[in-house]
């Protein structure tokens, strides 16, 4: 989800560098940032309280079950296979779109990104409702690969776009063959981006619930859900959650050594120039066919299956809320959560960018720990804690669902807000302050308008993520309310495919439009504009 990170962290050439002030950050800013970090880490704290309440012995006993081993094996083998497949597919699609003379590459650049926005449970529904063999491990590999390879494509495409074409020319002139030049130079330059994408892919697989439930594939997340269903208050779910969070932490930590390596070094200060695109020649047709196949599998099948079920189903046995009613709730919750997440990101981003300090960096990094916590774990922790320790405060209310969304997608908001804060000239604020304006007014009248577009982008990203979220929503949705995702799920679970299908189509439409905008945004990043 934070695929924009790779692009956002890369310094854009046109923007003057912003000197960070080294002085003490204002107390208010530090306090607000600390409060945000505390909120984000609260599910982890709840989890630890819950686990310690059960006692180390019980937890250890629950973790060292034969079931844990089989869950670990299922989860790890799927993660490894899908991540490897996504690395290959995502890198190849990025290279075809960015570095070749492929006809229609502007259109492909958008089409290959769209599947990322479609929830994996919808792709899974499309495939498994039509093809009986799409189930278990093979089904999970297929569906997840089709759903998440854009997480590799996006950062790699951004990286290739800003990479220095001179290096590959140099390598070729030194006698390296075309293929080896590709491997050693192109892939080498994008190594950081590929690894970053792979980390995101792995985290998504750890957190996925809906798709695996449909495919009948057991992972840690599906089992935690089952344990929670069999018994609402046993510590089993929290014990397994801890294992899952540790797995997420390990994957997240795996990226750290890779940071800074594989970065593109330029051959000269003005080396950004029109890249010479590789001529595909006779390979053009096979490449076009391969991309068409990929898009047909990832987009065509879910859309086709939904249309098929709408046309073919018999008499419905279920009633439920209308698409409009579910859509209104989805929009309200998503907008509230997007606003909250974006606002929470502002103090953390300001502190991290404007007042560089070790403490600030640690604080910013700590918020990324949320990435290691699947939505299910966050939802269960909040729900259980609200009921058990907070005297039922906010229990089963919209407020708790919105809080869960805001925590879950905070990293997404931070990436956008941080990038826009980094590119807002601090001199303007200093000028305003030197004219005697108080700090809050400066923030309101100068800083906010400068970072506005970035905030809007963050809002949209979080909105999209919330609108297509299923797992946390299932746990936290208020009594009597259905969102698009939960109503789809209720129909799908009861095999009412004809009734589930329109919801699937609406979810896909909601997801596809913003992702189209996102893809066009990437399309206009520097590097591409120089090429066309």
């Amino acid at each position: 989800m934070t695929a924009t990170g790779a692009a956002a962290e890369r310094p854009l050439p046109a923007v003057p560098s912003v000197p960070a002030r080294r002085g003490r950050p204002p107390g208010l800013l530090t306090g607000m940032s600390l409060a945000v970090a505390a909120l984000l880490l609260s599910p982890l704290v709840f989890l630890l309280i819950e686990a310690s309440g059960a006692g180390v012995g019980t937890i250890a006993h629950l973790i060292w079950r034969p079931l844990t081993a089989s869950l670990l094996w299922n989860t790890v083998r799927l993660t490894v296979v899908v991540t490897a497949l996504c690395a290959v597919i995502g890198t190849l699609t990025a290279w075809c779109v960015e570095c070749t003379d492929l006809p229609g590459r502007r259109l492909w650049a958008v089409l290959v990104v769209v599947p990322f926005a479609i929830p994996d449970f919808v792709i899974s529904f499309g495939w498994s409702s039509i093809f009986t063999w799409v189930q278990g491990f093979q089904g999970a590999v297929l569906v997840m690969t089709l759903g998440v390879y854009p997480l590799v494509h996006l950062p790699v495409a951004a990286s290739l776009r800003s990479a220095d074409p001179g290096l590959e020319d140099t390598a070729r002139s030194l006698g390296l063959g075309r293929f080896r030049a590709f491997l050693r130079v192109t892939v080498g330059q994008a190594r950081g981006a590929i690894l970053g994408g792979c980390v995101l892919v792995a985290l998504v697989i750890l957190a996925e619930y809906g798709a695996f439930e449909i495919l009948g594939y057991q992972t840690f997340t599906t089992e935690i859900f089952t344990e929670f269903q069999v018994s609402f208050n046993v510590p089993t779910a929290s014990a397994l959650s801890l294992v899952l969070v540790v797995l997420g932490g390990v994957i997240l930590a795996g990226e750290l050594p890779a940071r800074g390596r594989g970065r593109a070094q330029r051959t000269g200060a003005l080396a950004q120039r029109v890249p010479r695109r590789h001529r595909l020649g006779q390979a053009t047709l096979p490449v076009e066919a391969a991309l068409l196949l990929l898009v047909a599998l990832a987009l065509g099948v879910p859309v086709g299956a939904s249309v098929y079920w709408m046309l073919e189903s018999g008499a419905p046995t279920l009633t439920g809320v209308s698409i409009l009613a579910a859509g209104v709730y989805t929009a309200l919750y998503s907008a509230a959560a997007a606003a909250v997440a974006t606002l929470l990101a502002v103090p953390v981003a300001l502190l991290a960018v404007r007042h560089v300090s070790r403490g600030g960096r640690l604080l910013e990094r700590s918020t990324y720990l949320v990435l290691a916590m699947p939505g299910l774990v966050i939802a269960l922790a909040l729900s259980y804690f609200a009921e058990r320790y907070a005297g039922g405060f906010a229990y089963q209310t919209s407020a708790l669902l919105i809080a869960a969304y805001a925590i879950l997608f905070f990293p997404l908001a931070l990436v956008g807000v941080r990038a826009s804060v980094a590119h807002a000239p601090v001199a303007l604020e200093e000028a305003a302050r030197s004219l005697g304006r108080p700090a809050p007014e400066v923030f309101w009248r100068v800083t906010l308008p400068l970072v506005g577009p970035g905030l809007a982008a963050s809002f949209c990203l979080v909105f999209l993520a919330c609108a297509t979220e299923l797992t946390a929503t299932l746990v936290l949705v208020p009594t009597g309310v259905q969102t698009l995702a939960t109503q789809f799920w209720a129909y799908q679970q009861n095999l009412a495919y004809g009734q589930a299908a329109p919801f699937a189509l609406v979810i896909m439409a909601i997801a596809a439009v913003p992702s189209y905008v996102l893809a066009r945004y990437f399309d206009r990043l520097p590097g591409r504009s120089a090429a066309t």
């Binding site: 034969p66 018999g314 008499a315 009633t319 509230a336 309310v481 009861n494």
Partner: protein
């Protein structure tokens, strides 16, 4: 933004609204709820989930539970809540509507509808004569790879309890281990999935309740039904009739409205909705018969296990856990 919708889940102060924790299938509940709302003007907020989840949730919530009524698919979840002292007595006039053997002997919950276990099979993969006639045969190695099974499905627990009652817990445990081996990779999340997978020909047969198959037929249309159902031998421990019921929570602050909802469920109107709807469960009030193409209720020949013997399901859950299925 308005705080109205934000706090909507807290319930209105008008008093004329109740919260229903619904462990029954939404197919069954939705039409009953809307008819009740129309008849009484009382709003029902429905929270649907697995019956075990809801029961445990109520135990955790204790006296703070937002729920007024719980409606479950099977009796064990209600017996469990009754044993915890969390339910209040059902009004005698409500209990009088349905046969007493289908309600709590203690009077804390009332039976609403009945369901019966069946074998669902795909004739292109297995013939009727090859199917097991007794539930013990499900563990027979000759069915390896042919049996679909849902360990987490609460509908299966009464069958486990019934087998343990008939043959003892040790035999029930080895029987479950045999089932696990036979099911292999065909372990599914619920009975809907078993029904679907058998119908698609992914697995040869499984054990579900009768209504899943009728719903499937209604949902996908007769032309796509590639499966059939049949019964175990009469009075076999696998031929289990179990009861869906409802109760009012002791912590409910809307006792009168909650009792009215229960009364509605067993009324002629409520039972008529169950009889005619696509839920395909059997109404149990006297004088109302299911009009669907099902085996008539009085022609069923289930095992003699009673509601108290089905208990709170804890023995079944424990056996499933020991067999590594939960």
């Amino acid at each position: 933004m308005a705080t109205g919708w934000l706090l909507s889940a807290c319930g209105g102060s008008a008093g004329q609204s109740i919260t229903l924790y619904n462990g029954q299938h939404v197919q069954t509940t939705d039409s009953l709820v809307s008819a009740f709302e129309k008849a009484t003007g009382i709003t029902v907020n429905v929270r649907s989930d697995d019956e075990d989840t809801l029961a445990d949730q109520i135990v955790t919530e204790g006296s703070r539970s937002p729920a007024d009524v719980i409606y479950t698919e099977n009796s064990p979840a209600l017996e469990y809540l009754q044993s915890k002292g969390l339910l209040t007595a059902v009004e005698p006039s409500t209990l009088a509507h349905t046969p007493s053997r289908y309600s709590s002997p203690q009077g804390d919950w009332v039976g609403i509808s009945a369901r019966v276990s069946v074998l669902i099979y795909n004739p292109s993969l297995i013939t009727a004569s090859q199917l097991p006639t007794t539930v013990l045969e499900l563990a027979d190695p000759r069915y390896q790879g042919e049996l679909g099974f849902a360990a987490g499905e609460t509908d299966f627990q009464p069958i486990v309890t019934s087998v343990a009652r008939a043959y003892g817990t040790a035999a029930a445990l080895s029987w479950l281990e045999g089932i696990k081996a036979n099911a292999g990779t065909h372990i599914y999340p619920d009975n809907e999935t078993i029904t679907n997978e058998v119908n698609r020909g992914e697995v040869a047969f499984g054990v579900v309740n009768q209504y899943y198959w009728y719903r499937l037929a209604s949902e996908v249309g007769d032309s796509r039904v590639h499966s059939k159902i049949t019964y175990f031998a009469p009075h076999d421990p696998g031929y289990v009739l179990d009861v869906s019921g409802a109760a009012v929570l002791r912590s409910s602050t809307h006792q009168a409205a909650a009792q009215r909802f229960l009364a509605f469920l067993v009324s002629q109107q409520g039972q008529g909705i169950i009889a005619r709807s696509t839920s395909f469960e059997y109404p149990i009030a006297s004088g109302i018969a299911s009009v669907q193409p099902e085996t008539p209720f009085d022609q069923l020949q289930p095992n003699s296990i009673t509601i108290p013997e089905l208990g709170d399901g804890s023995e079944a859950i424990s056996l499933l856990q020991q067999a590594g299925l939960l």
